[in-house]
Symmetry: C2
Subunit: 364 residues, 2 copies
């Protein structure tokens, strides 16, 4: 078996031994009491993560499946949605709205930046009335995080719209109190700041959304949120759950709650500062403007003359540290470091040392 | 930690220690060489399961997600589909076709039976030209398997239609040589006769389907088959894969190939006969007519006066054997036994003994 490397990807990320071992718990009936207990636990812990008294669902899918669920449940043909587009994942989100028959009002900004709150509000004012805002919080492709989730949510709701936040690569590293801010749907993934294995998408669902859905079922069965809420009442999922991943998620959320969400957020804060400062000390510049730089994904330009594939292969094979390449227009020019979940000073130090040595070896 | 019980459900089913342990393999980059090797292995082994030289995809979703993928990729609004409906899962399949905007021509038969091949062909002749036939092979809800997959496929193709087979609870216990029979899409799940944990759907995809999709993208991103085929060429999945489940699937398929598909099918054959005979010896009658009874799911009526919940609770708690209840019109009147994957004489004997003793205890 390969040795476990230090996974500094923007997800999947390092998973603790305790969470890994949880996957070995017994196969059980997903329509029986043991699963009902497990799932109720998972839902209760998920509520704590979203800071909500409301509904949550866990889907057996990647985060992209969670986004597709949010879009298909809210958008009907002809509905208008306001979508800030400032990277690969927000671009995909806009396309998904169009697939569902929605009209997208894009609020675009150059990759590496985010639209300002003023630009977003101006777009909303221009449209007047619209069905939903779909806002990617943290652009995993560029390491940009928008700093105005609460204000954007408020603005969307003032226009009578649903506020949907894609926090796949941020929730847990950031706190998003969905009830207090009025977020209608917030989406995250198991393999990012929660530090569980990949394969599950977690969503918070406001009562406004479930009211809407009661009169207007979506065109998907696998991602029909109301069906999950109804089954969730009795501690079940409508379709066979990916059981080992639920065991692992339960354990990972337990770890998160033991640490405390606030402390975990502060840790992400501190560790990301160490990474940004360390990379700057090596003369490497971040893709993101400082005002919008992400605490969970650090995208950094290569020095001139460094080959992306060679660098990442050497970093992985010689140093055992795995980082990601650039996305879209940044492919080949940028590497991305995840600052998620189990991230700690040892990981940061190892990563920075490995980056330094590998750059030196490739430059010599 | 709870003790592992004998899981005689119609999926999830018992998973070998070797397959469970595979989930503990290292977290790796799903855009790196190690994953590419793993996924290419998985795809190659999946091809052997479907007996195809053609394309296959593995989705991070339950079997229901796999069915939704098949429907959304093939059906466009206004398309007509012929769908035999003879249980809960075929009923759901018909509804999913309607969600995608398709017109469904149902070929219905009473639950516990299946439409005859003649009825199915007559319906096709009456419709004349249609887009696709969606045929559930094995109705997990009633323990009925249709015995004419090859003939139905041929008939559908003679009408210029795509032949889609939902073999979620059967493939591996039955052989379905998709190339030889001309099946366009065959769907199965990881947690049935493959005996891996739940959470992955496997699909075979004929070249006729990929040709269609090139000119006509579906309205789903997460389930867009062509995207999976394109990424699959380089050994990747378009979205973050549920990694531990891919490790487990790889190992479970390896076990299947070591045994040999033919031998595994024969084993399911023999074991299901033992179960049917054993239950008959206890005076219990099967829901399915003998000509269409399933080799992988045995649905059996309770004797008069036996309470379903009490029976299954006692069987699980006292005997450590887990079976499923009845579905829809059969709820409370029927229990269902899975005959899948790891099934062997020891499991059968334990199960029959436990059923006998529990019935006796509850009748006394």
């Amino acid at each position: 078996m390969d040795k476990q490397k230090l996974i500094m990807l923007p997800g999947p990320t390092n998973v603790s031994e305790r969470v890994m071992q949880a996957m070995l718990k017994p196969v059980i009936n997903h329509r029986g009491d043991s699963f009902r207990e497990l799932y109720k636990e998972v839902l209760e812990k998920t509520r704590q993560l979203f800071q909500t008294q409301g509904d949550v669902v866990v889907l057996s899918s990647s985060g992209t499946g969670g986004v597709e669920a949010a879009v298909w449940n809210l958008i009907r043909p002809g509905d208008t949605a306001v979508v800030p587009v400032f990277g690969e994942f927000s671009k995909r989100l806009a396309e998904t709205v169009e697939m569902a028959g929605g009209e997208v009002v894009q609020v675009a900004s150059e990759f590496g930046t985010a639209p300002t709150l003023e630009q977003l509000k101006a777009a909303m004012d221009k449209v007047g009335s619209f069905k939903a805002m779909f806002l990617v919080h943290n652009e995993t492709s560029t390491g940009v995080a928008v700093p105005y989730l609460e204000e954007a949510t408020k603005a969307a709701r003032e226009h009578g719209a649903f506020a949907v936040i894609d926090a796949i690569s941020s929730l847990g590293g950031y706190a998003i109190p969905v009830d207090r801010w009025g977020v209608d749907v917030c989406i995250t993934g198991s393999q990012k700041c929660i530090a569980a294995p990949p394969g599950l998408a977690l969503l918070s669902v406001s009562s406004r959304v479930s009211e809407l859905l009661k009169g207007s079922p979506p065109k998907t069965r696998y991602f029909e949120i109301l069906r999950y809420l109804e089954y969730g009442m009795k501690g079940e999922t409508p379709f066979t759950p990916a059981l080992p991943l639920y065991y692992a998620l339960d354990e990972a959320l337990e770890e998160l709650i033991e640490e405390g969400l606030e402390k975990r957020v502060q840790r992400h804060d501190r560790m990301s500062t160490l990474i940004y400062d360390g990379l700057a000390g090596l003369g490497l510049g971040a893709v993101a403007e400082k005002s919008v730089r992400s605490k969970t994904v650090i995208a950094s330009y290569y020095p001139k003359g460094i080959d992306d594939a060679k660098f990442r292969r050497s970093l992985s094979q010689e140093k055992g540290v795995v980082v990601a390449g650039g996305f879209g227009p940044f492919a080949g020019r940028v590497f991305r470091v995840g600052c998620m979940g189990q991230i700690n000073e040892g990981y940061v130090k190892t990563t920075l040392g490995a980056v330094r040595d590998t750059l030196a070896a490739l430059s010599s």
